[in-house]
């Protein structure tokens, strides 16, 4: 039952879709930030640790969807890791609730330098609809410094991938070029 299907998949072309290169403006801003901050190159791969700081779980669904066959995040050298100690990037979703603020700060402290924080989703950007609630500290930047904002409620998997590719492009060795592994590349 399974083997004929696997054989067919081996012979067929990948179904992952191409992704537009990240906008130059975003990349330039990230490069400037990077040079000011550390000047260290990470190579062409990033390890991402996701932290839900209070999300409604809508953002998690779309973060998950970045790994499905049509989006296939790993072809770009982007992968999710289990511990902040293995991560280059903290991908934070949700408003930062007061009950999660300390855990987020600990995860940030546990992430080795150089590190980047991506606030994904309207809630992570500034608290979103939950802004002003006494139970919410604010967006991600209420607790940790943020390098990149990806708005949306929730941001689409493509928006998430484009944002992460911008980070990758900003970190690419000179001369700066487009994201690794375009359209369906391995």
């Amino acid at each position: 039952m399974l083997w004929p299907r696997l054989a067919r998949s081996l012979l067929s072309r990948p179904i992952a879709e191409s992704v537009a290169p990240p906008p130059d403006g975003t990349v330039a801003a990230l490069v400037a930030r990077l040079e000011a901050a550390a000047g260290t190159r990470l190579g062409r791969s990033l390890s991402i640790r996701h932290v839900d700081a209070g999300s409604c779980n809508g953002c998690e669904l779309e973060v998950h969807a970045t790994s499905n066959l049509l989006h296939d995040l790993e072809r770009f050298g982007l992968r999710f890791v289990a511990s902040p100690r293995h991560a280059d990037v903290l991908l934070v979703t949700g408003p930062t609730t007061r009950n999660m603020a300390e855990a987020l700060a600990i995860a940030y402290a546990a992430t080795p330098d150089p590190k980047w924080v991506v606030a994904a989703g309207d809630c992570a950007v500034d608290g979103g609809v939950f802004k002003g609630s006494p139970a919410v500290a604010g967006g991600t930047d209420a607790v940790v410094p943020v390098d990149l904002l990806i708005p949306g409620c929730p941001p689409s998997p493509m928006a998430l991938i484009e944002g992460l590719l911008a980070l990758l492009a900003a970190n690419a060795p000179e001369p700066k070029k487009g994201p690794a592994g375009q359209a369906g590349g391995p």
Partner: protein, 497 residues
Amino acid sequence: MSATALIRSAPQVAPQRHLLSAEAWAALPAALIDDPEMAFLGLWAGLGCVHAAFLHPEDGVPLIASCLGDSYASLALARPGAGLMERAARDLWGVDAVDAADRRPWLDHGRWPTTTPLAARPPPREGSAPQQMFRPVEGEGIHIIPVGPIHAGIIEPGHFRFHVQGEVVVRLEVRLGYVHKGTLGLMLGKSPRAAVPFAARVSGDTTVAHAIAFCRAAEAATETPPPPRAIVLRAVMAELERLANHLGDWGAICNDAAFAWPLARAGLLRERVLRACEAVFGHRLMMDRVLPGGVALDITAEGAATLRAMLAEISAEWPGLQRVYESHASLQDRVVGTGIIAANLAARFGAGGVVGRASGRGFDARRMPGYAPYDAVDFNVPVLPGGDVDARVRVRVAEVDAAIGLIHRLLDTLPAGPIYTPLPIRAGEGLAMVEGFRGDVLHWLRLDDGGLIEACYIRDPSWFHWPLLEAAIEGNIVADFPIINKSVNASYSGVDL
């Protein structure tokens, strides 16, 4: 006196609500113990009052008991599902179940600027944060595995405290509240139209079902039914949501048995559903598409064709995936007999949805209390007795098939006409139940004369699933926790509010 008679003998203060004296309320636990058929739906508080909702199968409609005062007799012995809700009500409103066995804080981690944020005048917090307390476990060679709030995967935060003897879990205790956003407080003082985005964000994966339940409660309060076309469009969205989530869960459960291929295929099917939703309803999760009084946008003939084409694609691949599931002994070995939730436990907790139906409890809000348009269409509600991971998988599989059939039939019978009726500005009170993909979602609200929300409550089905997860893991090995957890798939945000 039966529990129903006890509640009904008290003065009626709203269409489905009776105000009990403290003595009458104190008689409620014993009456409930005598009447095991009376399903417990939820318990919440307000300014100096407590409310509990029930549903007796003979009545078929929900009934709310209320009682004034800052303290009340605990229902947790009669209905164990009330336990966590009583702890939450104390944290949020300061209304206390004085004789409850478990009065530990639940949502309040000692980090809010005030205590009891929904009380009339929340007192500023004094002193340091209370420490998390877990129940002790005694025995030889017991060790503790603390996990979370941040877990290893892409998942919501919560703390799991495992007490383990060798490889076997003796007790799991779940500590939640990490994603408490103060949702109920944010909804107060707003019109239903302004508050519906919060209902749609109680649990993002259930955005449609929560929004429908909230809107139906507001429509009941103002006695303004939405147009027939809107009712059917809502059901189409709700079934699409069920379809997408069950597909994703099916794949994720297989993946937790280290079988990645089903996740890849099911993830693709799920993506097809979400893209069709985006094409037809303008949002992948259909967030903010359900409004008080109707729906935000209509569907075109091409929209219906897009949905049907997507359903055909899923119907073509889905049976093949089932054959793979059935024919892999290594997968069957992981799911059969794992994480059993006993039927009597599911019944005592009043578990709804997949968890209840996989443990022999056939409750489905679409059937009882029942609501339009489900009273006019035929659909299958699968119920299995096993209570293990496999039973929960099979209920989902049958519900995928049922949802596909339902969406086709709903599109066939889509009535013509408007999709929206504005709600009048008036006072009123309403309760509604909607069957989401996890189970029955309950919303209750009261509007003041200006049509603004004076009091409200939201009960996700996960309230009853979390305690059952704690029971399901007992006697299983730690390594099976992820697959058991995924097979239950309770929402964190849904209960943290």
